[in-house]
Subunit: 221 residues, 2 copies
DNA sequence: GGCGCTATTGAAACGTAGTCAATAGCCGAT
DNA sequence: ATCGGCTATTGACTACGTTTCAATAGCGCC
């Protein structure tokens, strides 16, 4: 039926194409949009991702997007939080019964494994697309705090030293070290993953020796 | 002369207030705007500083602002670069003839001194108001590279180890450590400045021992 | 087959970055 | 003095992206 096409075109021009509406459950749609946001904000900078783009890619109207996320920033933060949670979760299934030093090494393995798999997302998380937004800062800070806890969880001296300013400064600083080194490493891997892991673990070890001599009296410098 | 006020009001209403134009030399105007930008972007987030605000504060029109800086981002980057230069300059006048370890300690002193004096600017520099902008990233990266050079300049092993991946990873990671620890410290100083300085210096020392055993064979772990 | 609920739309409001032709102050020449 | 040119400066205008909201269409239920 050759006329079909012609008729269609006429109808389209006359009575407006009228894109068919696809109805989704709230949860599904929300999940779809979140996934899209995570991808988009990992690939491009915050300002380079427009609501129009997102809506077009999701094949919905801008209005609907705003129905699910009251603000572009909210959408961004929601995506970032998920990325953050995934990262923390990635190092959370390290066996409990290992020696502290092995736990650290295993955690580092899991951490490095995860960030190589999700390099783009990790970079966009850490570089913090909107540096000065308090919510974004809170997400990043949350990652640090939780990593701090994970890496130290189960070590015998953690309870003793909790609250010790010198110790906490040192370990939190080490987290900064790890972030920095892994960001560098993501963009140009000049060490193997094992070499980096060993280096990071060794340095943590030394840092704890320096920052908590009371626990390592025999090693005092 | 009571009528004065009334006359003024009438004139103002009739023939438009016509704000008087103040002509400035290009350099002065530019300097004024840069200073204003540095202040504003340190106080508020990038998006919360509008060109209209800046123009109003500077008592000039938007158009003129765009005459000096082709883009809001350019203005921001220009301000950020100055802050960055000031930070690097701050640690640049450490005497050349000190022992390496003392140079590091003196540099750290200068660094900490500077960031306490310019805490807000330092924080906005490091948090990188626009995380994903390549120019902004370049400024921050430039600070790191230059700090790296400054801290190591004059040490005997620097030339030997330049290019050694393990060593560079470690020292660059230490820069991350320092940034992180000093950002924390800016917001809540739980150590004295001297304690922090000593901690940072000790850790650098240990890090170099670990990362460059060939230079410290006698200390190999 | 109508009714109500809600996911969805489209257009319009709004704010902010960026443009540009016109203007006003300054200075040197006449 | 004043004219003329140079350039710092203006302000109205455009463009574009976020956000709002009343209207609409799909779906299940009676």
């Amino acid at each position: 039926m050759p006329p079909r096409r012609a008729i269609r075109l006429v109808r389209a021009a006359a009575s407006r194409p009228k894109r068919q509406r696809i109805r989704l459950e709230t949860d599904q749609r929300r999940a779809q949009l979140l996934a899209l946001a995570k991808r988009s904000f990992s690939d491009r900078a915050y300002d380079d991702v427009s609501i129009d783009d997102l809506a077009r890619e999701a094949k919905i109207s801008k209005g609907l997007l705003y129905h699910y996320f009251p603000t572009k920033r909210d959408l961004y933060v929601a995506g970032l939080s998920e990325i953050a949670d995934e990262l923390v979760a990635a190092i959370s299934n390290v066996p409990e019964d290992l020696a502290p030093i092995d736990r650290v090494r295993r955690s580092l393995d899991a951490y490095l494994e995860h960030i190589t798999r999700h390099a783009r997302a990790f970079v966009s998380l850490m570089r913090g697309g909107i540096g000065s937004d308090p919510e974004v800062a809170a997400v990043v800070e949350g990652v640090r705090t939780r990593l701090f806890d994970k890496f130290l969880h189960g070590t015998p001296f953690a309870p003793i030293l909790r609250g010790d300013a010198r110790f906490e400064t040192a370990v939190r600083g080490w987290i900064g070290f790890v972030e920095h080194a892994s960001l560098d490493w993501c963009t140009s891997a000049r060490l193997t993953r094992d070499e980096l892991r060993d280096l990071l673990a060794d340095i943590l070890h030394q840092i704890m020796r320096i920052a908590a001599p009371s626990v390592f009296p025999q090693l005092a410098k």
